[in-house]
């Protein structure tokens, strides 16, 4: 058996350019599969880790569903109001319901303008609950207290001049100019590895509403259930309450009540869908690669008829010839797979690096040995299977005719 591999690898090496071109077909496909699955897994791990920062007893309520354009809850025709929040808080299993707003503001600093996403913090003792459930702590300066005005706290990524758009680091004590008003950076939040918190600006609720002339309406109502066990029932209670208040039937809700678990599940479902789609596309490229191998091997059999005849004359049995070509095709697939896996992992590293740079997190590439070994074994198999018909053709050659070439 070893001899087949030695002979096959010599043959492939001698056919340098053609082997390389044939490999191209396979390794593009394998590289696509490996990099996309690997990146997908990394993305999934990243997103899942974002949810670790949210405690499981939190329910968030938005109008219009999560697929709306813009920041959560914004730009919907029938927004939630502060009185919705008060009504939800009266539900027995609810510990608190805090209305929150998310606005994009234009801020000036260092003679530069940047658009920042601002979240509101309640002007009541609930502010500490919000800090606690999002594990927000001050890295420098201090956090905001209820009813403060003219002050903001910022996420860790925004402190850096590279990310905040001002081309200058923000420190505690710096002042941003928003709509002619000065805002004092009161604290910088400890880096959390959460995309949302690390890139956010926080301001007191009333201050934000006054600044943007917002009325009763709110973007998100953050609800805490009295215990994790009560989350599901609370979610149903809120849905029932809001259906009544907004006068909609079951199945026609113009609002969304989501728990961190349900968001996670739907995100994972979307990711899975994307991965399956990508794998289907990449598989097509592998099929094309397999056809390439079959094509190369068929041509090779035709070109090497004389060689096949000679081998038979010096004692090669039909199965010897078959295995020779079979192994050669398999090796083509395997080498293609090997390059594909290396390339795919490389792309996946690069992708993770770009992802980390873009949204300011630090995830690691997810290396799956099952994926790598599976790809290698799979590509040998694909090659070998593509080689079966040409190899059978070679094995069946009549030695007398074959020897004439």
């Amino acid at each position: 058996m070893k001899e087949y591999f030695v002979l096959a690898s010599k043959n492939l090496k001698k056919r340098g350019i053609r082997s390389a071109l044939t490999l191209l077909g396979i390794f593009v496909g394998i590289a696509a599969v490996v990099s996309l699955i690997s990146l997908g897994n990394t993305l999934k791990a990243t997103i899942n880790s974002q949810f670790d920062n949210i405690s499981p007893d939190i329910i968030s309520v938005q109008a219009g569903g999560i697929s709306g354009v813009g920041a959560p809850g914004t730009g919907v025709s029938n927004p939630l109001t502060e009185s919705d929040a008060e009504a939800i808080e009266r539900i027995g299993s609810v510990e608190f319901a805090v209305p929150r707003s998310i606005e994009t503001i234009m801020a000036e600093f260092n003679d530069k303008v940047s658009f920042l996403s601002v979240g509101s913090l309640p002007d009541s003792y609930r502010i500490d609950d919000i800090y606690r459930q999002q594990s927000i702590e001050a890295a420098s300066g201090r956090l905001l207290r209820a009813n403060e005005r003219g002050r903001i706290i910022i996420g860790a990524n925004l402190a850096s001049g590279k990310n905040n758009g001002f081309e200058k680091d923000l420190k505690v004590g710096d002042e941003l100019l928003v709509k002619g008003q000065e805002f004092l950076v009161t604290g910088i939040i400890e880096k959390k590895g959460s995309f949302i918190v690390d890139n956010a600006v926080y301001m007191n609720e009333r201050q934000l509403k006054d600044l943007n002339n917002l009325g009763e309406e709110v973007d998100v109502i953050t609800v805490k259930a009295k215990s994790v066990e009560l989350v599901e029932i609370t979610k149903q209670e809120i849905e029932k309450l809001l259906r009544e208040r907004r006068d909609v039937k079951i199945g026609e809700e113009d609002f969304e009540v989501s728990t961190s678990e349900s968001i996670l599940a739907s995100v994972n479902q979307i990711l899975m869908g994307v991965q399956i789609f990508i794998i289907i596309i990449a598989s097509m490229s592998i099929v094309v690669g397999a056809i390439g191998i079959a094509n190369t091997m068929t041509t090779s059999v035709l070109e090497r008829r004389k060689e096949i005849g000679t081998m038979k004359a010096v004692g090669a049995r039909n199965e010897d010839i078959f295995y020779q070509f079979f192994v050669e095709a398999g090796l083509l697939g395997f080498v293609g797979g090997l390059i594909g896996v290396l390339l795919g992992e490389g792309i996946s590293y690069l992708g993770t690096f770009v992802l980390n740079q873009a949204i300011g997190i630090s995830t690691k590439t997810n290396i799956s040995w099952v994926l790598i070994l599976g790809s290698l074994a799979g590509s040998f198999l694909i090659g070998a299977v593509s080689g079966i018909i040409p190899a059978m053709k070679a094995a069946k050659e009549n030695p007398v005719e074959a020897i004439r070439g």
Binding site: K14, M311, A313, V314, G315, N318, V400
Partner: protein, 241 residues
């Protein structure tokens, strides 16, 4: 003189081909016995069936009718793989166009027939080196066929034909692609191996080579044996097969 053992025996062997709708009688009833140590030449004009005859003798081809015995065994009805196995062990081939595997070095080409007989690697190496030294190519062992001259390639082919220590060497126009001088050298090697006991069967166009080296000539015509001549005491006489 003691009658030597018949290594290859053909009994009324016929080989017919269908060429389109016409039946071509390439070999039409040949009976012959090749004995151990013979140096036999097969001669005849183009289309006389020489090549088909040597293919049948070498068990590369199976007869349409008739029986072929190799070393006492009837091989007329063996499967292709069994035939290959026996052929690899008992017969060494030399072709007009050398037929070396171009992706393999001289040494690897010589090792090839031994692979199919399951010889272990170390023995293959030693045997190949030994044979290449005999054909005076010890210094060219790791060269590829494209780096060798025609004469050198044919000598590699001779070494390859001897790899499994076969009883018979079949040479189909072994000097057909060589100039006279290199051709002579190839013939000298064949002669040497014949003197050492190998049976040689050679198809050739060149009567001078046949007359010089062979000790028996089958003259073919239209797929049949036209006459058989034999050399005794440097005199050629027509004999009955």
């Amino acid at each position: 003189m003691e009658e030597k053992k018949g290594i290859i025996v053909l009994k009324d062997v016929k080989k017919y081909y269908l060429l389109g709708l016409t039946e071509v009688k390439a070999v039409d009833g040949i009976s012959l016995t090749i004995r151990q140590g013979d140096f036999v030449a097969i001669m005849g004009p183009s289309g006389s069936g020489k090549s088909t005859a040597i293919n049948l003798v070498g068990s590369l081809d199976v007869p349409t009718k008739g029986e072929i015995y190799l070393d006492g065994h009837n091989i007329s009805h063996l499967s292709e793989s069994d035939l290959a196995q026996i052929r690899g062990r008992k017969i060494g081939f030399i072709f007009q166009q050398f037929n070396l595997i171009r992706n393999l070095t001289a040494k690897e080409n010589v090792m090839l027939p031994m692979i199919f007989q399951g010889t272990d690697e170390l023995e293959r190496q030693q045997k190949a080196e030994e044979l290449l030294k005999i054909v005076e190519l010890g210094h060219r062992m790791n060269h590829y066929p494209s780096e060798l001259s025609g004469g050198e390639q044919q000598r590699v082919a001779i070494a390859r034909a001897l790899a499994n220590d076969p009883e018979v060497i079949l040479a189909d126009e072994p000097t057909g692609n060589l100039d006279t001088k290199t051709g002579e050298k190839v013939m000298e090697f064949l002669n040497k191996f014949n003197n050492e006991g190998k049976t040689i069967v050679m198809v050739t166009h060149a009567p001078d080579l046949a007359l010089k080296y062979a000790d028996k000539i089958y003259w073919l015509k239209d797929g049949k044996i036209d006459k058989v001549t034999k050399k005794t005491n440097n005199q050629w006489k027509e004999v009955k097969e």
